[in-house]
Amino acid sequence: MSIASQDTAIRTGRVTRMLIYLVLLLFALFYMLPLYVMVVNSVKPLDEITGGGMMNLPQVLTFEPWAKAWSSAQIGVEPTGLSPYFWNSIKMVVPAVAISTVLGALNGYVLTKWRFKYDTIVFGLILFACFIPFQIVLIPMAKMLGLMGLAGTTSGLVLVHVVYGVGFTTLYFRNYYAVFPTELIRAAQIDGAGFFRIFWRILLPSSGPIAVVSIIWQFTNIWNDFLFGASFAGADSQPMTVALNNLVQASHGVKEYNVHFAGAILAALPTLLVYIVAGRYFVRGLMAGSVKG
């Protein structure tokens, strides 16, 4: 009897599993559709698109649009392609992510392990930064950047993103460090390690998962940001997103959709890469702390 029931259990299991897979597959296809459209059209000659075959596979495979988008497409007035703006973005994102993550870690460290009077109020105020809409700060921020002589520079953009990101990174690290055993800090104090030594030697080496969360979050947000880039960047510090917009919005000549698609993929590539490389740590980091080790 038990054998029989086991048998049916497996059979129904197989059927439901097939159904589940089918549904998942459909969803996956549905979600992949935009990517498919972008990739397919970025490797077609323009006339194949304007001829009305958006969904078709390319008849002639060409990487011309990619090359053009990267190095020679008209962006604004200059035919530079997206490449200088790509480097602008990198120059902005890397320091902004690094600084905001380190600051967030330090804040989290102080707020949990070097507690002081009214520290929860301070934390609440920092958290508040997460909920301020971008639009509200635009004008005061422009004024501040002007006063600091950072208007239109990459450093100015870095500052803006650090200021905006620190709320989130502090939140992540504070919650992560809140469950980090305080006895370890005390042991290190007795061993003679100071404030930064404890941070550097004890806390940071155990912060991998949450650092990944912070980095991914900051990287995608800053890389994809358009509003701050469009508002505060100068002509030679514009990030990729703004340049892509300029490429697509160019008002003269024919619209080179294939180049636009290639450019859009180029603009999305770094965040995609970060997710692929560190994505599983991201989930692990988000879960960390919710389950007691």
Binding site: L184, R186, I190
Partner: protein
């Protein structure tokens, strides 16, 4: 002046005073155990010695140097934490030498010190492992190694055995005691386990409600508890404390206690000054092992009183049999030989060693000293 002086030290969190004027002088090489129930302030006191908590008032001195405001790393102390607090990202070896590294001890010296300690604690094979790959007992050893390697003036232990299973706890207890005898270091050790306190210490401070209730050798604490709290906290099973009345008969003070049926048993005191309590109520304290049968009574005692009482429950526990009876309206436990002929519901003639009995003032709950 002791080696470690805790001088009129108090601790307040805001308006709440959690430690009240603690006054303890620890001699060099002593093993002082702070014992008491949860929340009595043991850890707070230890952390104040370590420098992890500020001292609200009073002074703590190590080797006559005032420690108030001195950084933990400058006090030449080492601490073993309840959770062991091993650095998870470092190997056992690095854990042990981290403190030396922070004190700028050169690497060759550090390695030598590590080897010595590893040898002493028999953890050489573990030196390259991470703490996550150790058992509880091994972590415990590593934590002790980390403390030992710095050769501190005072060792501080905060419930170091409470995360171990029962068997290992007993083994490690012996190990710590051996280590203390071998190295002769000064130790302050926190526990809420009174057996640990009795077995390990040279002196015990029993704490309750932020007060040191009694400070003394294990024997003093056990035989002459300062008050009812200490009497019932130390010892397992706890000391029986029952209401009794002092009546002087033929010039000798007797304790009148109600038996199970309300009749009065008259037990002579060995303590003469209790005659001053003639006619007054007291609380009578009798340790379970001092209530036995006639044959097992202490031969050296000059004051064995007989008392016939009804047995309520018997609990054989291998080496002993615990017998429960009603005395003074309360449950009283006697610790009998396992072969004693006791049966529930039967009357039995008990022998009470009244030399060991203590009397407490029912109002102050303090022991009435001889």
């Amino acid at each position: 002046m002791g080696f470690l002086d805790i001088d009129n030290t108090t601790k307040s969190y805001g308006a709440v005073e959690v430690l009240h004027k603690v006054d303890i002088a620890v001699e060099e090489g002593e093993f002082l155990v702070l014992v008491g129930p949860s929340g009595c302030g043991k850890s707070t006191l230890l952390n104040m010695i370590a420098g992890l908590e500020e001292i609200t008032s009073g002074e703590i001195r190590i080797k006559d140097a005032v420690m108030n405001g001195v950084h933990p790393s400058k006090r030449n102390i080492a601490m073993v934490f309840q959770s062991y607090a091993l650095y998870p990202n470092m190997t056992v070896g690095q854990n042990i030498t981290f403190g030396l590294e922070m004190h700028n001890v050169p690497k060759p010296q550090r390695d030598k010190a590590m080897k010595d300690v590893a040898n002493l604690l028999q953890i050489e094979p573990l030196l390259d492992r991470k703490p996550g790959a150790l058992s509880g007992g091994q972590r415990q050893r590593v934590a002790m190694g980390r403390a030992l390697v710095r050769n501190p003036d005072v060792f501080l232990f905060d419930e170091p055995l409470s995360n171990l299973d029962a068997k290992l706890r007993v083994d490690m207890r012996t190990e710590i005691k051996k280590l203390h005898q071998k190295l002769g270091t000064t130790i302050v050790y926190v526990t809420h386990d009174q057996i640990e306190a009795m077995t390990l210490s040279t002196r015990i401070a029993v704490m309750f409600g932020g007060y040191v209730q009694q400070l003394g050798t294990p024997q003093e604490i056990y035989d002459t508890p300062a008050n009812i709290f200490v009497a019932t906290f130390m010892g397992s099973p706890a000391m029986n404390v029952v209401p009794a009345k002092v009546v002087v008969e033929n010039g000798r003070p007797m304790a009148h206690v109600a038996l199970h049926d309300g009749t009065i048993a008259s037990l002579p005191f060995s303590q003469d000054n209790l005659a001053e309590w003639d006619g007054k109520d007291i609380m009578l304290g009798i340790r379970p092992e001092t209530i036995t049968d006639e044959d097992a009574a202490d031969r050296k005692s000059e004051n064995i009183a007989q008392m016939t009482n009804r047995i309520v429950v018997t609990e054989p526990a291998g080496s002993d049999t615990f017998v429960t009876m009603t005395l003074g309206g309360r449950d009283v436990i006697a610790r009998m030989r396992s072969d004693a002929n006791v049966r529930a519901g039967k009357d039995f003639q008990f022998a009470v060693n009244m030399e060991k009995a203590v009397a407490f003032d029912p109002k102050t709950e303090n022991r009435i000293a001889p």
